[in-house]
């Protein structure tokens, strides 16, 4: 295992909550507010970890397992996705499928924990989450398949570093299409605004937030941290496809990728400040659009 990939992994673990801070600062800037401190997510995590948890008497072990399994899955995913042109900590052929399944397991346990509370409200959120992610997954897998075909390898650690700004001319349209699809997947999977609003707690339109309402204390800290890490993992996937900066110097590449991630967080903040949430019935149309975009990228490569 090269030392740089270990450093990148630790970087992901440490810096992920900062992205939430950048997003919130951007939104505050657009609204003309000062906003919460940049490191608020770290303070929240620290506070939550020192609290006790309250469990309902009707909830079973599944409810307690949900946050732990979710966090474990996303930490493993962070070890698979390469960052800034260097290989990831864990790399083997076809690990892109494991990535999709890790997110699947994470979602499965979050949904199970939500259903385990017995609240109909949480069941509604679980149903929406499953419906939307069922549509987002083909977009992710087809997009990754297109990149795999473009670069001729099936491991994320070979695929993403192989992309570069000076790629052959015919890869341009493919990369643009895949990046568009991945951006939609990124927003959907992280429950960001065109699909779900992480800040409001308006009952009938919540998706992700509603599923974690009954968690408290360290469990909720795990969920918050897992969400931040998921934002980082999918973001680094998107950044690796859309803006592959390859200077040859590993440290420079890493710094550039970090800059791209911060820009991505600002972009998310701009999107959240400038557009409203889609109507719930229209979300599938957006997701099918993303599937079609990555399908188009795949078709363009098949010719």
């Amino acid at each position: 295992m090269p030392p740089l990939s270990f450093i990148n992994f630790v970087l992901a673990l440490l810096v992920a909550p900062l992205l939430l801070g950048v997003i919130n600062k951007t939104k505050a800037f657009f609204a003309g507010r000062t906003g919460q401190p940049l490191l608020q997510a770290y303070f929240d995590l620290w506070k939550l970890l020192h609290k006790g948890a309250v469990y309902s008497r009707t909830a079973t072990w599944v409810f307690r397992a949900g946050p732990v399994v979710g966090l474990a899955c996303v930490v493993l995913a962070a070890a698979i996705v390469p960052f800034g042109g260097s290989r990831a900590m864990i790399a083997f052929p076809c690990d892109l499928i494991l990535l999709a399944y890790l997110f699947g397991v994470m979602r499965f346990f979050t949904v199970l924990a939500a259903l385990d509370t017995g609240s109909s409200f949480e069941g509604m959120g679980a149903s929406r989450e499953v419906q939307f992610s069922a549509l987002a997954e083909p977009a992710l897998l087809l997009g990754l398949a297109a990149v795999a075909r473009l670069t001729g390898s099936y491991s994320l650690s070979d695929m993403l570093p192989a992309l570069s700004m000076s790629a052959p001319a015919n890869s341009g349209p493919v990369v643009v299409l895949v990046a568009g699809a991945l951006l939609v997947v990124f927003l959907v999977e992280n429950a960001r605004i065109p699909v779900d609003d992480p800040n409001t707690h308006l009952e009938l339109t919540m998706i992700h937030e509603v599923m974690v309402l009954d968690h408290g204390g360290p469990d909720f800290a795990f969920i918050l941290y897992g969400a931040a890490l998921k934002l980082w993992v999918l973001g680094s996937l998107l950044a690796g496809v859309a803006v592959p900066v390859r200077t040859g110097n590993a440290a420079l590449d890493c710094a550039a990728a970090l800059g791209v991630m911060l820009c991505l967080a600002v972009l998310v903040g701009v999107v959240e400040s400038s557009m409203a949430r889609l109507r719930l019935l229209r979300v599938p149309r957006l997701l099918v659009g993303a599937v079609v975009l990555s399908g188009l990228a795949f078709v363009l490569l098949l010719r």
Binding site: A169, N170, G172, P173, V176, L177, P284, R285, V288, G289, V292, L293, G295, L296, V299, L300, L302, R303
Partner: protein
């Protein structure tokens, strides 16, 4: 140059998919207007041996006609008709988008089977022009509002324009301009027809026109 042409062709693909997915007529007209502006840049990029006066003229003419005048005409007809805003498709929006995807796959396959001459500028050009013709046909048969039929006709015409400009390149300017004028006349006549259909029947849904037969 090639990369720019590819990006424009890509924008055409995406605008077609948006046309299939939009539920508001106004947004559909805007998508087609965007297509017109994107098409106008093609002759400049595809011109052999640098930008010539003729290519610039054709580009300007295309942008003016397809990007500005057609959309204005259609928006005018749409406002005059004063109808409900929805497109009213026979086939749902999600299914339409998937059909568009299938159309692109089919046209890519078709073009890989045909040995088309020319096309050294972009390997994407022939599939995209076939794709646009298919999408135009699909819009014509799958939408109820008469104004959507005009949009479908325009998209078909745009597909042929892509084929002419990028694949053939050497098409005489006079032919191009004549085709553009024909399209203009057709859209003009159809706009007037839509207006009259709407005034006579209080709606412009074409699915009830067959009741007219004696």
């Amino acid at each position: 140059m090639n990369a720019y042409i590819d990006i424009i062709l890509l924008a055409l693909i995406v605008s077609n998919l948006l046309l299939l997915g939009f539920s508001q007529i106004r947004s559909c007209i805007n998508a087609v207007a965007f297509q017109g502006v994107a098409l106008g840049a093609l002759p400049l990029l595809a011109a052999a041996g640098g930008v010539s006066v003729w290519a610039a003229l054709l580009g300007a003419f295309t942008i003016g006609l397809k990007g500005v005048i057609f959309p204005r005409l259609l928006l005018h007809a749409y406002r005059e008709a004063d109808v409900r805003h929805e497109v009213e498709p026979y086939i749902g929006f999600t299914a339409s988008t998937l059909a568009g995807f299938a159309a692109l796959a089919v046209s890519a396959w078709l073009c890989s089977r045909l040995s088309l001459f020319g096309g050294d500028l972009s390997s994407l050009a022939a599939p995209v022009s076939f794709f646009m013709v298919f999408v135009g046909l699909f819009v014509i048969v799958s939408r109820k509002k008469a104004i959507s039929q005009i949009l479908g006709y325009l998209v078909m015409d745009n597909g042929m324009y892509v084929f002419g400009v990028v694949m053939l390149r050497e098409m005489p300017l006079l032919v191009d301009l004549a085709v553009l004028m024909d399209a203009f006349a057709a859209v003009f006549v159809m706009g007037v027809a839509v207006y009259h259909i709407n005034r006579e029947f209080d709606h412009m849904n074409v699915d009830q026109l067959d009741r007219l037969k004696g």
